[in-house]
């Protein structure tokens, strides 16, 4: 991966409403290539919505989303905005790996089939090559021995690691993690965080919505704190955790640690 001067993600005045409820009230944000950004905030702060606007799982109500210099075309629709070109959205999504809170593995496919699905059927890459890569990825996340198992037969931690392998199989330039450990039993959180830490150390560009303050502090090089749809704190972990002065952030930290 060659470092690029173009930001990996750029949000300008991003707004999102669900009916009368305004969840994002003008977000300006930038992530450079190779950065690991942790997005913190209490529930309802809009952090997941912000992440989901980046790959258009939620369509913004206003503002722009620019991925590696390419702005997603939006036009007014009956309610809010809609994508101009579905193919553009599909193409941009191919370069973004997403990991969900509830894993969302395809339950009728084995772990290996989950991992090779998008490379073969979306990116149309040669099957043999994709399988070899998929097996290496499963090795990397530590579940190579489960490759022929179905999601229902795996623990939550194993499912989430399979989901990470599935996202990596697309060869994404950007990884989005939406509360990847929130649905896990406490004793399974560590195995997923270890995999994520390894990815961060490879220099991957990652945006992580998380409640894991320890992970945010140690692994990320940028912290964003959202409160009621706006960014309240932003900076390196050192800056934010030692100098973050907004009372909200203090309260949030106290609540998380307690």
């Amino acid at each position: 991966m060659t470092p690029s001067t173009v930001p990996a993600v750029k949000l300008d005045g991003l707004r999102k409403s669900f009916g009368p409820l305004e969840v994002l009230k003008g977000i300006n944000f930038e992530a450079r290539e190779g950065q690991v950004v942790s997005i913190l905030g209490s529930s309802g702060s809009g952090k997941s919505t912000m992440l989901r606007c980046i790959n258009m799982l939620e369509t913004p109500s206003g503002g722009t989303v620019t991925i590696y210099g390419e702005t997603i075309g939006l036009v007014p629709a009956r309610e809010g905005l809609k994508a101009v070109d579905r193919h553009q959205v599909d193409r941009i999504r191919q370069g973004i790996g997403m990991v969900f809170q509830s894993f969302n593995l395809w339950s009728h496919m084995s772990v290996l089939e989950n991992v090779i699905e998008a490379p073969i059927h979306v990116q149309k890459r040669p099957r043999a090559e994709v399988i070899a890569e998929a097996e290496a990825l499963l090795e990397k996340v530590g579940i190579a021995d489960k490759r022929n198992h179905y999601p229902a037969h795996l623990s939550g931690g194993q499912q989430q690691r399979a989901a990470i392998a599935r996202a990596l199989a697309q060869k994404p330039r950007l990884m989005l993690f939406d509360e990847p450990t929130s649905a896990l039993d406490p004793e399974l959180v560590g195995e997923v965080l270890r995999v994520m830490r390894a990815l961060a150390e490879e220099g991957r560009t990652m945006l992580v919505v998380t409640h894991e303050i320890g992970f945010a502090k140690d692994v990320s090089n940028k912290i964003v704190f959202l409160h009621k749809g706006i960014i309240e704190e932003e900076g390196t972990p050192d800056e934010v955790f030692s100098n973050g002065h907004s009372q909200r952030f203090r309260q949030f930290l106290a609540g998380t640690i307690a």
Partner: protein, 234 residues
């Protein structure tokens, strides 16, 4: 009990089985092709399509199949426009009238079964497909439909069994399938009990085979619901 007569009856009914199977198979297959778009219309979120599909299902589920057969076979021929149209060679043939009635009828039930199957696919899995950049069509083909079929199979199996039995109504418009032959034999011999018992047994055997096949299909399609086999981890 007159075993030789029962045996003779069985031999006489066997030639009706191919027609029974043809009626059931063809109408089920055609019905499925009609049911899928009807189910998609229900889920399209487009008011007009939704209402057309709902109306169709309401009419065909709420009226007797026998009445539908009569309307198509006897009713349509009353219209000069139909008698002179290119469709008449088909619509005057009892075989095709039976196929049409059975198809239209099963499509109404099957569309509801398929709709249930399609709706059972967890939204998160569809979202995961969108997130990897999968087109709508590929998502439908690779993620939604395979799971919907698995989910719908038990309900659809019921419908298939009902359809095998429903073919007996075709005897009323002169078709010589199993029930048609049985009715003709009764009018010649007046031995209703024995003949109908043998006819019933023929349907029993047909549906026994069908339920076995359905069970096999369910087993083959659902490896993800079984415990992994000992060697599966290698």
């Amino acid at each position: 009990m007159d075993l030789p007569f029962l045996y003779e009856t069985l031999l006489a009914l066997l030639p009706g089985i191919p027609l029974t199977l043809k009626l059931a198979t063809l109408s089920v297959v055609l019905g499925a092709f009609l049911a899928l778009p009807l189910a998609l219309m229900r889920l399209s979120g487009i008011g007009v399509l939704d209402w057309i599909s709902k109306g169709y299902t309401f009419v065909f589920r709420s009226t007797p199949l026998l009445v539908q057969i009569f309307i198509i076979y006897y009713g349509l021929g009353q219209f000069r426009e139909i008698r002179t149209s290119f469709l008449w060679p088909i619509l005057r043939d009892p075989y095709w009238c039976a196929i049409i009635a059975l198809t239209l009828n099963t499509a109404a039930y099957a569309s509801e079964i398929i709709r249930g199957g399609l709706q059972s696919v967890p939204a998160g899995q569809i979202e995961a497909a969108r997130a990897v950049g999968m087109s709508r069509f590929t998502t439908f083909r690779r993620i939604i439909l395979p799971q919907a079929i698995r989910q719908a199979l038990p309900g659809y199996g019921n419908e298939l069994i009902l359809m095998v039995k429903a073919t007996s109504l075709a005897s009323i418009i002169t078709l010589m399938e199993v029930t048609g032959i049985a009715a003709k034999m009764i009018s010649e011999t007046y031995r209703a009990i024995e003949i109908f018992i043998v006819a019933g047994a023929v349907y029993l055997v047909l549906n026994f085979v069908l339920t076995r096949l359905l069970k096999l299909a369910e087993y083959r399609l659902n490896p993800h619901l079984r415990q992994p086999a000992a060697g599966a981890s290698s």
